[in-house]
């Protein structure tokens, strides 16, 4: 202060720090910014690849010392009784492993975006099991982001996994993935809101009494599978011309106002309160709703069948516990208990028999234990390489907006 008492700032009061005038600072900062940062930093800014392999990214298993497991799953996807998780707590009691259960997977793409930087750089994401849909699981297998499972630790999976899920083309020996639940994509409608039932996808897209009251799913493969069917192509094997035709059909239905929204699970409340009268819907969601007005139907085009898979990401430190949990949920009694709550398709052989003791009314429920006839009517979406997937994702996101 004594210095200020002796010397008055040369430019008068209010500008006591004359050397850092606004102009001077701006000039300096701009020159510094443009001269140093921009070209140098821009050029250095490419990304290195995020492809990993067993050699490039090794994980250590600390299961011996740490009795804990971090499990990330989708919301409403495990049995719950008030605040407790019956099967999960039984697993904890049996093994002494403390499970941290999180429902932070809401959308395959969103979850991928959340973990891509860590997994791409071979860093831990702090989770031992993540649950992702087939196509995203396939992408992670291709990227080398998953740990190989030790089948010696999962005998129940080997014995009880239903035959049609044993060898998907993206993981033929189930080296990296174990299905959690499967499900169907079909149509749901509100009986009270319309006069006649909706039986097919093409009705959904053309009936004038549904105009502006229909929603489709934001999952590209779910919606485009049906669009390909509607335009006469086969979703399990199609070419670019057929794809473009299907996209055009979708665009037309969006532009003429038939489709009100594209949704994730949030179609449920809109369907219940009448803002939607019919929509593309996942089987388990609708069944678990237990609303007598809402009907789930198998579309004439068929059903799209998918699975969500348990995966162990690189750098997860409790792989042995993760395998123990996979094995546990392939016990028929546990699988039946889970299926009775989540209402999705159960991938465990023997669970149907075990269901007799838990809820006999569900034993013959084809949406949990599909019959041969039912399965004959299903299709899945062909697997895409990364470049094609990106092109199709872009086409789809342009068509829905």
């Amino acid at each position: 202060m004594s210095r200020n008492a002796r010397y008055r700032p040369p430019l008068g009061p209010g500008l006591s720090l004359p050397s850092v005038g606004r102009r001077g600072f701006m000039r300096g900062a701009t020159a510094g910014g443009l001269g140093l940062f921009v070209p140098g930093m821009l050029s250095a800014c490419g990304t290195s690849g995020s492809q990993q392999s067993e050699g490039s990214c090794e994980s250590t298993d600390k299961s011996e010392d740490e009795k804990e497991l971090f499990f990330s799953n989708w919301p409403a996807y495990i049995d719950k009784d008030g605040k407790s998780f019956p099967t999960l707590e039984f697993f904890e009691k049996q093994t002494g492993v403390d499970v941290t259960y999180d429902t932070d997977v809401n959308d395959n793409n969103e979850f991928f975006a959340k973990v891509q930087n860590q997994l791409g750089a071979c860093e831990s994401i702090g989770r031992d099991i993540i649950v992702l849909t087939d196509w995203m699981a396939a992408r992670m297998v291709d990227l080398g982001w998953l740990q190989k499972l030790n089948h010696d630790n999962i005998p129940h999976v080997d014995n009880n996994l239903v035959a049609n899920l044993k060898s998907p083309d993206w993981d033929p020996n189930r080296d990296y993935s174990v299905p959690w639940q499967s499900g169907f994509t079909g149509i749901a409608y509100n009986k009270k809101a319309i006069d006649s039932p909706v039986g097919s996808f093409s009705e959904l897209l053309t009936r004038s009494d549904l105009k502006g009251k229909v929603s489709l799913l934001k999952e590209m493969r779910d919606t485009m599978g049906f669009m390909l069917k509607v335009s006469g192509a086969d979703p399990t094997d199609f070419d670019n011309t057929e794809w473009e035709q299907a996209i055009e059909e979708l665009e037309a239905s969006v532009q003429n106002g038939q489709v009100r929204r594209f949704t994730g699970n949030d179609y449920l409340e809109d369907l219940a309160n009448g803002d939607l009268v019919a929509c593309e819907a996942w089987s388990g969601d609708i069944m678990a709703l237990e609303n007598p007005d809402i009907e789930w139907v198998v579309p004439e085009e068929g059903l799209s069948l998918w699975s969500d898979n348990m995966l162990v990401p690189n750098k997860a430190e409790h792989k042995t516990h993760a395998e123990a949990l996979m094995n546990f949920y392939y016990r028929p009694d546990m699988a039946a208990q889970l299926a009775a709550w989540v209402w999705y398709v159960c991938p465990v052989e023997g669970a149907q028999k075990a269901m007799e003791k838990i809820d006999p009314s569900l034993v013959d429920q084809p949406l949990i234990f599909p019959t041969e006839d039912f399965l004959a009517n299903t299709f899945s979406f062909m697997s895409l390489d990364e470049e094609t997937a990106r092109q199709y994702d872009t086409d789809f996101s342009q068509a829905i907006g």
Binding site: M1, N4, A5, R6, Y7, R8, P9, P10, G12, P13, G14, L15, S16, L17, P18, S19, V20, F25, G33, F37, V38, M41, L42, S43, A44, C45, G46, T47, S48, G49, S50, Q51, N109, E110, F112, A113, Q116, D142, L143, G212, K213, V254, Q255, G257, V259, R260, R261, F262, N273, G274, D275, E386, E387, R390, D393, T394, S397, Q398, I400, G401
Partner: protein, 300 residues
């Protein structure tokens, strides 16, 4: 700065040169923490964003992207998404106008007429922030629902058709945006209006100005800084918002934020980055132009 300026001292005594340079250094030192913060959390991300927008689009996430000064990303993105840009600015503009029309009378009432209710009214303006943005937008969904009472009432009017609805229309998106950003208009306007000396308005009256003329010639010009700040605080976030369009709109009311969000999520990084940079640049240009026109350079 002003605190130092008030220290009394001999007038007109120029300091010796070394003193000045030392004092200059302390100025830069004072700016150091803020500058470092901005360098890490603004400059680095911005540079990365600009770099991402110039990636060779044939790169993949697995193999990595090369920065190849691929300017074509911008023209490609523009030709695909120009209409969404225009729509976003249209909605943001409508939102800003609606916020001024609703916010000015409200801020005026709080500043001049509220009396002892003033603090309570200010709290009421801020109160919505006590709950989450998402929850508030979701409740608009219920209000505007096809079977809700607002649509029901509207349908009872003679000139409104049976299939009239609000939810999933552009009107719903603009309503949601207006609701969510109204406080950002009211608070700066209030701050400006509160400083207006009521005696100036009285003086205008004494000079035979009608109340309207007094408002136009005295109150509004004095409230200009608040109005400019308010429109900027409303327009800029509204143009980039995607929650309202997502929850209250339909596929034909998507805003640019929705496209950027979706493209990033499906790893179409160069296009998403090019759109983000374009949005940022467009907003900066519009704001500079606007601030110059509005004649309030002291704001920037």
């Amino acid at each position: 700065m002003t605190a130092l300026g008030h220290v009394p001292g001999p007038v007109g005594a120029a300091p010796p040169a070394p003193e000045a340079s030392r004092r200059g250094l302390s100025g830069y030192l004072l700016m150091l923490p803020g500058t470092l913060w901005l360098a890490f959390f603004f400059i680095v991300p911005t540079v990365t964003l600009v770099a991402s927008s110039l990636y060779d689009p044939s790169g993949t996430f697995a193999e990595g992207y090369q920065m190849t000064w691929h300017w074509q990303n911008y023209t490609d993105a523009w030709s695909e998404y120009a209409s969404t840009f225009l729509r976003s600015f249209l909605y943001a503009g409508a939102t800003t106008v609606a916020c001024v029309l609703l916010g000015f009378p409200l801020a005026y009432a709080i500043a001049f007429k509220a009396g002892r209710w003033r603090s309570l009214m200010l709290v009421a303006v801020i109160a919505p922030f006590f709950t989450s943005f998402l929850v508030r937008t979701l409740s608009w969904k219920l209000l505007l629902s096809d079977n809700g009472f607002i649509v029901g009432l509207a349908q009872a009017l003679p000139f409104v058709g049976e299939d009239f609805r609000l939810l999933a229309t552009p009107a719903a998106v603009i309503t949601g945006l207006t609701y969510n950003f109204l406080p950002f208009m009211v608070l700066p306007l209030y701050a400006s209006l509160e400083k207006v000396d009521p005696r100036l308005i009285e003086a205008a009256g004494d000079l035979y100005a009608s109340p309207f003329t007094a408002l136009r010639k005295v109150t509004i010009p004095l409230a200009m800084p608040g109005l400019v700040a308010g429109t900027l605080l409303t327009f800029i976030p509204a143009a980039g918002d995607f929650i309202n369009a997502e929850l209250l709109g339909n596929p034909r009311t998507r805003m640019i934020g929705n496209d950027i969000n979706d493209l990033f999520k499906s790893s179409v990084i160069p296009t998403a980055a090019a759109l983000s940079v374009t949005l940022m640049a467009a907003i900066i240009v519009m704001v500079l132009f606007y601030v110059r026109k509005a004649g309030t350079e002291e704001l920037v």
